[in-house]
Symmetry: D2
Subunit: 508 residues, 4 copies
């Protein structure tokens, strides 16, 4: 059955073998019941549920080019410009509902990156990675599994490459090759949603050269494979989550996520689940293809979060009757325009992509990196403005539970009564907590800053995709250093021709 219900998904998680999960020095035995993961469970359930929503399913599902059946959009690689645009819209739409990560997104990006890469490797080396991937993918689609991508290595001394590290495991690597598979060792940090995954797709975090070929490994590992260990990370309001019902108001939002560190402690992976092994020459392609999709998504995902934050800020402004005031309008507009800007970068990255020989659609890298770059900055301005507008009380508000106490509740109702008709004091607290949640309490800003690559990583990759030769030449023509004017027109019109048509589109 291609589209699981939330209940069927929960059953699949319950069916996992006992896992090694830690938090605050304690082992989490049942992740579905642990308070710290309560918001995350709600999120993933909602994702499964929306695929059955009469209208939402249009954007959350797609027809598999492998099976011809409808499958969850997150289990399929991008195969067309329309797919890329759907990804932008989907990421924005879900973020508007959840205000957090969807967990399934990164897995789909790893799939989108591996699909053309395995094709390339096979073509060059006669391997069968592409078929392996397709086989695994059909199963994932049919079972409607949640796959998260495990990318970011601990990296140790960041001035050294993987193979130069004092501890060779600072980047995940193949430590043994057997007849039936490989053994991998290492760790991956900042893994969003991973504790609720069915499958973990491990890919390298960087390109490597021949001297680091053991770091060139990509494979799919069941989340409950022996040797997979998880340490749940903290986020500011982690201890509020999963407390009693009224305290949940203080969390600010039903849906949430989590980040964990994955330790891969000598895990065996059978060959049919391995999609790259020591093929260092193709780590560059994988990084290009993966980040193009990943960073496209980072832009629209943060756009959606900004829309939700903007909605909350509007309510906050109404609660003090200031929504119509000029400087408030000014600031609301700033947030709104910022959201559109991120969305535009994401959408355009898809529109300006190209068709890979494998059939995959590769978004435009320059636009995708630019999307992430701006996504590391605009949400921060938005949060500052939202916090300014909700005023100091939004930052120092008492617990909603105080409203329940007869000694103090009525006084709070009196003094914190909103100026908006129909809005209760509890409502007002809810709005403030939503802004706190996205602005400080959870990792929404952390994902804006680091998810998909931080400011500097995005800038660096964007710089690489700028067509410097063309820019130098058009400037030389413009100022008369180059007298042959046709050079600029030719270059510019050639580039126009490239868009949508091939791998040269990497260069803008």
């Amino acid at each position: 059955m291609p589209l699981k219900t939330p209940e069927e998904y929960i059953a699949s998680i319950k069916a996992r073998k006992p896992m090694d999960i830690w938090f605050r020095g304690e082992k989490i035995t049942d992740p579905l019941e642990h308070p710290a993961l309560k918001s995350s469970v709600e999120t993933i359930k909602r994702i499964y549920e929306l695929a059955h929503h009469p209208k939402f399913k249009e954007i959350l599902t797609t027809k598999s080019h492998l099976t011809g059946e409808i499958c969850n959009f997150y289990t399929a690689p991008l195969m067309s410009k329309e797919d890329a645009m759907q990804k932008s819209r989907l990421a924005r739409s879900l973020a508007e509902i959840l205000g957090c990560c969807t967990f399934r997104c990164t897995g789909s990006e790893a799939i989108s990156g591996l699909y053309p890469t395995t094709y390339e490797i096979d073509k060059a080396k006669g391997t069968d990675y592409h078929e392996r991937l397709k086989t695994w993918l059909k199963w994932v689609q049919t079972e409607d599994l949640t796959v998260t991508a495990a990318l970011t290595d601990p990296k140790g001394d960041r001035k050294r490459k993987a193979h130069e590290q004092p501890d060779p495991d600072a980047f995940l690597r193949v430590v043994e090759t057997r007849d039936d598979g490989i053994v991998i060792r290492g760790a991956k940090v900042n893994q969003t949603g991973i504790i609720l995954a069915n499958e973990v797709m491990i890919i390298p975090t960087t390109t490597v050269r021949e001297n680091g070929k053991e770091y060139a490994v990509a494979c799919a590992v069941p989340a409950d494979a022996p040797g997979m260990k998880y340490v749940l990370g903290r986020w500011p309001v982690d201890l509020r989550v999963g407390q009693d019902e009224f305290e949940s108001i203080d969390v600010g939002k039903k849906y949430g996520d989590h980040q964990a560190m994955l330790i891969v402690d000598d895990v065996f992976v059978p060959h049919e689940r391995v999609f790259m092994c020591q093929d260092w020459e193709f780590t560059h392609d994988l990084m290009e293809f993966f980040t193009a999709v990943h960073r496209l998504t980072a832009g629209s995902c943060k756009s959606g979060g900004m829309s939700l934050l903007l909605g909350a800020t509007k309510l906050a402004a109404e609660s003090t009757n200031l929504a119509g005031v000029s400087h408030i309008q000014h600031k609301l507009g700033e947030i709104g325009i910022g959201a559109e800007t991120l969305y535009a970068l994401s959408l355009s990255a898809g529109v300006e992509g190209f068709k890979h020989e494998s059939g995959a659609w590769i978004p435009n890298s320059l636009l995708a990196h630019s999307a992430t770059y701006q996504a590391t900055r605009f949400p921060f301005d938005a949060v500052r403005l939202a916090r300014e507008i909700m005023a100091g009380i939004g930052e120092t508000a008492p617990s909603a539970k105080d409203l329940l106490r007869s000694e103090i509740g009525p006084l709070l109702e009196k003094y914190l009564a909103p100026a908006k008709k129909g809005m209760t004091t509890e409502d007002r607290l809810r709005v403030m907590r939503l802004i706190e949640n996205m602005g400080r309490g959870t990792n929404w800003t952390a994902m804006a800053l680091h998810g998909g690559g931080n400011t500097e990583a995005s800038r660096l990759m964007a710089i690489r995709h700028i067509d410097w030769d063309k820019l130098g030449k058009i400037a030389e023509v413009a100022c008369g250093i180059e007298k042959d004017e046709s050079k600029a027109a030719d270059l510019i019109s050639e580039r126009l021709g490239k868009i949508d048509r091939g791998p040269d589109a990497f260069k803008r």
Copy 2:
């Protein structure tokens, strides 16, 4: 003949009746020969020339839906999503070549705005504006005329509406209605390229209500109609333009533009050239349709200018051998990402538009206003960084003419020799002057700031197109004020449905 050659265009300008054009207290008798307009003449000639360029013509021409013949892209309204995308790409591409205005762009935007508006008026009132417009348009396409849009009224006391001004002519208006046409009076400021236009399309600068209906007028006026008076405005390096050949190096760029004030001193316009007259109820539509196209263009046009500036900045960095230095890369990247961001907003505005009943394609307003908003800011950061990178000597460089003097030329060659192999001192001066030209010497930044609407105007219009109700509701659902979760999913998925499909797309 649908596509004029530059020579044919020049002939059409020479064929204009003697016109009333002023500059620095003197009358300009031959605009084609006046030094201050030399750069402008080069620009418009190049525009005509590129329509014949083997590759460029693909983007600079289109097939007319009226005549079925190939015509210049700027003489046709946007009729499809692909047209809108072509406009973004065209605006960016030409700006990369010219680094200034194309003159013909605003005319095409007025056409794109009037096309659906006249359709609406006719439908509501049984008028024949739409046919008039099509008839005029076919002629414009066949003759390949340059049309500029005349929009911005002097506005007088900006706290008062048009009909409340002490001088009723502070906004252009109909002062007389005759059997054969109307007489209009007023002025339009900041008219780029207008002195070299064949036709001037006059449209209102703002919406009006019934009490200001005489201000609701749109019509096409030949540039040389009696009563049309022009006062050429100044720009910082205006007196350098058109000096001797070597001084032209100090201008920084062959192509340039001009802005003039148009005074409409009781000009008669026959009915067949009138496309709106006192139809105040439709000024809102016209503003919406026009600005959606106009501001889409403002984004990509400035994107192209930023690319050219970036090319020049790269050359400047090379001239001191600093191009590879980290902080320089950082700043070059900032400019480059800024350029992509403006382009993305522009392109997306086209992609997310909708098909109007008249057949016109209306770009997404929120994205278009956002494009202009960001276009009023990013170019300024780019200019500051470009100026920083070219270093102080770029701001205080001597005239290229000093290189020619035996007493001082060799010393300048010695002390200003660039560190880049193959680059001469003259080349270096050219690069600096190009940056000066775009950064300060001409109105490139002025058009970034005001063209298409300034920061505040764009923000204001963007705010109006944000779907505040939806945003409020999704926030209420997210924080639990609204318990019915389906409301958010419904609203969001409905909105997804709206995109591309109809006028509701005005609302995001």
Copy 3:
């Protein structure tokens, strides 16, 4: 004895009558022992302790102009330019140690504002407020009491003035005047440190006119006076504070603060503790004098916090061996220069103040408001950069308690080992948590944004203190509208004369 030891201060708090304090729906019976207040208790103890520090005491104490004895600096009004400079330096220095509020600061600012105001009222009306204040002040100095200022009313509908509110208590007011004193009612929000205060100095949050004269009230109330009720607000990591020793690492910092809402439920205040009662004509002066000192402090306090954050960020950069990398240096520099900028605004506000007739030193208002304005923005950029530099793991790090588990601790030590020699994994976690603490976990950014007045409030007040007439005139002279050039020189040199010399210095 003028300078209490920490122990003596604790004794004074223990000696308070039982108080009405609430948190998360529960009553706090012993604030000195409650986990949520643990960091706050450490802070206030440290403040008392440092007054005995061989060097620190120089800056934390002063000679009272009332008693001639050494007293805590926070118990004395500013009486000289040197005092103002000491306040800037003290605020910065303590923030460098604590990274949070000192609690005693706002009280000193209320004192500094009331000192000249009461002098003015008495002079105009023959009242004896100034003597009352001095009497109370001598007692505060002798007892070395902690005084916090209670300023910010709930404000209800923010478009209405105090007396226009639906609930007249939305701003605190006098509800009854008796022979022996007054009864006040209302609430004050965002009260930092108030639960550990000895005395609460209540002052209005805004100017009022005659029709709102009951809101013009200033008085000192013992923290434990009957009717004083406190609701402790939440901050993101509030539940981590006061857990076991190892979890305290996850808080990030030993010192902390708290914000509470104070409800003044018909509290009686005897006349000798009342320093303004219905003297609405002087609320303007009080606001001016108070904010001048308060906002001067906001600048240097945030400057100190930024220094501490910068230190932590440097350590974070060292932990990945990236401290010397160009773009990291760039960002560290940005934070550092931001810190100096806030400090400079604060220090200058003191230097450019004037001597009031009462003997009080009034900082320059324009510079003080500018200090707060910039303090609402620079720390946010600093936090974003700090978070970027500590990398994603800084946002998703596991609890330090996981290090203690044999099953997982060694693996964490392996994979999170810092690249800096001598730094342990625990150290690295501590650094990340410090950044989290200041960036998200506590209210440091909240105080930057709202403490001392938010962005808009500061801008508004700054605008009022700009000498627009002078600026208009110098521009008229510069561009030749005004032909008499001496006007500009006279105006400018007159203004120079005003600085340091009198109340006209309000105008710059």
Copy 4:
């Protein structure tokens, strides 16, 4: 006679030997009469005049510690904290009048830097530079000469040090040492005001080591010494300056400046005018002492310019009746607060300086570099806002000369009439031109960006003066890595002790 009148200064310039000055390929024979230098002549005359102004003289003169007589402030080194504060105030005040450079400022900074440096060299090496300098200085003070500092070498390949350049003259150097003096060769770029100087003080632009000792040279050279050659640089509106009276309105401002390139073509300098020769060990001190004063000044100078620009912007807003509108107030406030911020950094740099053994007062370097850093950015935002507020017509306005033509003047008066009572159309044009002048037409922004060191140079030097060890330690204490808490308090209080007291104040 210590204080020259403007006429006496002009006489001193006329008395110079014929000089080698070039502009646009032509030799300037009489700089006092050449159109391009007209604004500059007005400026320097005004500077001499204001020293006799009844009030201004207080700030523009000082009592010489060498002669005991009143001398121009710009001829004396800073000897006290009060001197430093006077410099900040003077720089701001003059900029408010002139909106451009004063020419005499940099000379005074070179003097302030050389005064303690020569003292140090003499002390270490037994030389007599300090006496030479004092002798020369007494003469300068008595004759009230204009001295400009010549600092910035062409630098060639900026990745190479002076002695590594392909052309050894890319940095100015000693090419011959004779019995009676030295011969120097090289060039200095971006020399503001130099063509109207009496004396040119040549100093190195960078520190050098022993292998580049010939570049370690400082000396005073008469502007008309044989071999001194000047090439006047261009600025955007250079050709408007000095045209007829009405066109001068289009310049925007009476006062202006100029930048020139100085070529030192084997110039002989007698020993008594040499203040450093091959003393490479002291180039670091000279750079530190010089930049501390120079960058302090850069901050307040730009602050004053921003005030003038703000005044003009206010008038522009009034001309359209928008001055009171919220978003305009917002933007005016932004400019105003920016101006105060630069001033505060400048003033504080002086306040937090220290007394050098020579008697000189050295401003605080970190604050001074921070001042310049912010001065490279705030004016750019201010200009953008000013240009936005004056609206598009401010950028495209016709020449004031058009007002004089009967054919077009009355129509311009009609359509450009300002909404402000009492303001004429000519006045409005003047205001717009003033904004254009400062924003684009002249080098005001160029000096903001490069004068005193560009963004990166300032950041780099600021970073060097941050006390990283202290910051690391206080962070370690705060987060518990360092358990001994006294370390932070000791370090912080020690640092407090350092301020004002000695050379350690270099470190903050």
